[in-house]
């Protein structure tokens, strides 16, 4: 039962997480980051800068505070949630990065907010703050099985309603579950149970 599902053959070992390089010394983070840090001490774990993009790495449990502040703060004013997505880093304990791409139509600037979420760890939905996040979070739930709480309509969105498993996870075979079911029914069962477990809020 504890046997790991068959990962497709890889030449290199899976990385344990994104590098998230810290900003270079000559790059000062945007002003609203400082305001955020001052308003919500401890919510921002780190900031990162890479090829022109600023990223805030936030505490997963405080995502609602961070999101509300970023939307309502006058120097941030991120009224548009461009995208919400996730990345799967399997060996890590908190295996998912949930990434929020935010944009401000008033100041015309962007920020990326990233939080680390575990497989069964409940994670607050931001769809109350940005209605746009509704479908994005549904897709994340559908593809990764991130356990969103407080989501108004948490159903699968792209996959059929009775689908088993979460296709975008790294341990989900590219060929789909069909062959896995034939070769290794035990793993198939595990994938199936993973969904049921994720259903528990």
């Amino acid at each position: 039962m504890a046997e790991a599902p068959k990962v497709p053959e890889k030449k290199v070992a899976p990385p344990s997480g994104p590098p998230d390089p810290p900003p270079p010394a000559d790059k000062a983070p945007p002003a609203f980051v400082a305001t955020l840090q001052a308003a919500l001490p401890g919510a921002v774990v780190a900031t990162s800068y890479w090829v022109g993009d600023w990223t805030i790495i936030a505490e997963a449990s405080r995502i609602l505070d961070v999101a509300t502040h970023l939307r309502d703060g006058s120097d941030a004013a991120f009224d548009m949630c461009s995208d919400v997505t996730a990345t799967d880093w399997p060996p890590r304990a908190e295996r998912f990065d949930v990434v929020y791409m935010l944009y401000s139509t008033r100041h015309r600037h962007r920020i990326r907010v990233k939080v680390k979420v575990g497989e069964h760890q409940p994670h607050a939905s931001v769809s109350g703050i940005w209605p746009a996040a509704n479908w994005f979070e549904r897709e994340i739930y559908d593809m990764f099985g991130v356990n969103f709480t407080g989501h108004p309509d948490r159903r699968r969105i792209l996959m059929p309603d009775d689908w088993q498993g979460f296709p975008q996870r790294k341990d989900y075979p590219l060929e789909g579950p069909g062959e896995l079911l034939m070769e290794n029914p035990l793993d198939w069962l595990r994938l199936k149970q993973a969904r049921d477990q994720a259903d528990i809020e």
Binding site: P8, K10, K11, V12, P14, P15, P18, P19, P21, W50, V51, G52, D53, D79, M80, C81, S82, D83, T85, T87, D88, V99, M101, T105, R108, R110, R112, W130, P131, A132, A133, N134, W135, F136, M143, R156, I157, L158, M159, P160, P167, Q168, Y172, L174
Partner: protein
């Protein structure tokens, strides 16, 4: 599932009628299913069911090398394949911190804008067809054909072009091609007026589109709407202006915005975009600089570990790519597309509530979705 609500009118209790619009329906533009709850012909609620065209492009891309992904992006917004190509290539170039030659950026701009006109042609045709004006459809396809011919001459394909490479373009433009593009601009100018004669001041068209699906600017932004659908609500948000890519920083063009936020304004915005696109194409074609068409690209593309999000303005709106590279393998670790149609479609239930069945098709047309992109 909640039981169907019962409306208590003055005298009669009426049941709701649930109808499935799609997945096989003439005006859902692909395989979209909208579950409508009707009170008479009035839409009480709508639930959008998508995923019928899901091919797992994101998952596939994580198992293909960086160049192979370009042709997967063709298959997303298949009526604007070149734009999807540009978006992907620029994201990878950003990860690689690669300089793209100015000539390549200019040609990309031309191709993007041609693609925008082609996509808008398809939109105006199907949108008018949904509302019952069948002739515009054929007229618009006639002009789209000219664009497809230009694309065919450039890259040999008519629908899925695979016409970009990381770091530039695969091919030099054919001799005389720029002249043909300018010629097309001249033809297109008068054809836009032709569409407008048929629709813009047509009383039935006005009655069918004015005041239908009104959404205010802030609400549209909150719902994640983008592109012409958002600009119709009066939000001057255009990635080409706000976060210029390709050669848009060197082009002069206006971003048309609407005022009322209804179907008619979204229509007017796209009509004006036709003209602005022609303006950009003219500037870019006349100003194509000399130089190489492709930059200095390493033979083995393997961006350093890191992640980035890059957005471009596709004909439908903000098309974003979020790509994570682990720096070790020759394929992306995570490949995520932010499809504009997906976000616009999300606003559909909000738009159709309280309108009639006939308006549902008008609104599906007015947000201009392509299901290949929504479902990926």
């Amino acid at each position: 599932m909640q039981p169907p609500a019962v409306h208590h009118g003055a005298m009669f209790d009426t049941d709701e009628l649930v109808i499935n619009m799609g997945p096989q329906h003439p005006s859902t533009h692909g395989v979209l299913r909208v579950v409508l709850r009707l009170d008479g012909e009035k839409v009480v609620n709508a639930d959008v069911v998508i995923g019928y065209l899901h091919r797992g492009i994101e998952k596939l891309s994580e198992n293909r090398n960086w160049t192979q992904i370009i042709l997967l992006t063709d298959r997303m917004d298949y009526v604007a394949a070149a734009t999807s190509n540009v978006g992907y290539c620029e994201t990878v170039e950003k990860l690689l911190s690669l300089e793209v030659p100015r000539r390549a950026r200019y040609v990309r701009t031309i191709l993007c804008e041609l693609q925008r006109i082609a996509s808008h042609c398809l939109w105006i045709g199907t949108h008018a067809m949904d509302i019952g004006a069948m002739t515009v459809f054929l007229y618009a396809f006639r002009e789209r054909e000219l664009i497809l011919d230009l694309f065919e001459e450039y890259c040999g394909a008519r629908l899925t072009y695979n016409s970009m490479r990381i770091g530039g373009l695969p091919l030099e433009i054919p001799p005389g091609w720029d002249k043909k593009v300018l010629e097309f601009c001249k033809i297109m100018d008068s054809k836009i007026d032709e569409y407008e004669t048929l629709l813009t001041h047509n009383r039935i068209w006005l009655e069918r589109t004015k005041g239908v699906g009104v959404i205010g600017g802030p609400e549209a932004v909150a719902l994640g709407m983008c592109g012409p659908a958002l600009r119709g609500s009066g939000v001057p948000r255009d990635v080409r202006k706000d976060e210029p890519y390709a050669a848009y920083d060197e082009m002069e063009f206006d971003v048309p915005i609407g005022t009322a936020g209804d179907t008619y304004d979204r229509y007017l915005v796209r009509i004006e975009e036709f003209r602005q696109s022609l303006r950009i194409i003219r500037q870019a074609t006349q100003g194509i600089p000399e130089g190489p068409i492709v930059g200095k690209v390493p033979r083995l593309i393997k961006p350093p570990a890191g992640e980035t999000y890059h957005a471009i303005e596709s004909p439908k709106g903000e098309l974003g790519y979020f790509i994570v590279s682990d720096g070790k393998s020759t394929n992306p670790y995570r490949f995520r597309v932010r499809p504009p149609s997906f976000c616009n479609l999300q606003a559909l239930p909000r738009l159709v509530r309280g309108h009639l069945v006939a308006d549902v098709v008008a609104l599906i047309g007015s947000i201009d979705i392509v299901l290949g992109e929504v479902d990926r």
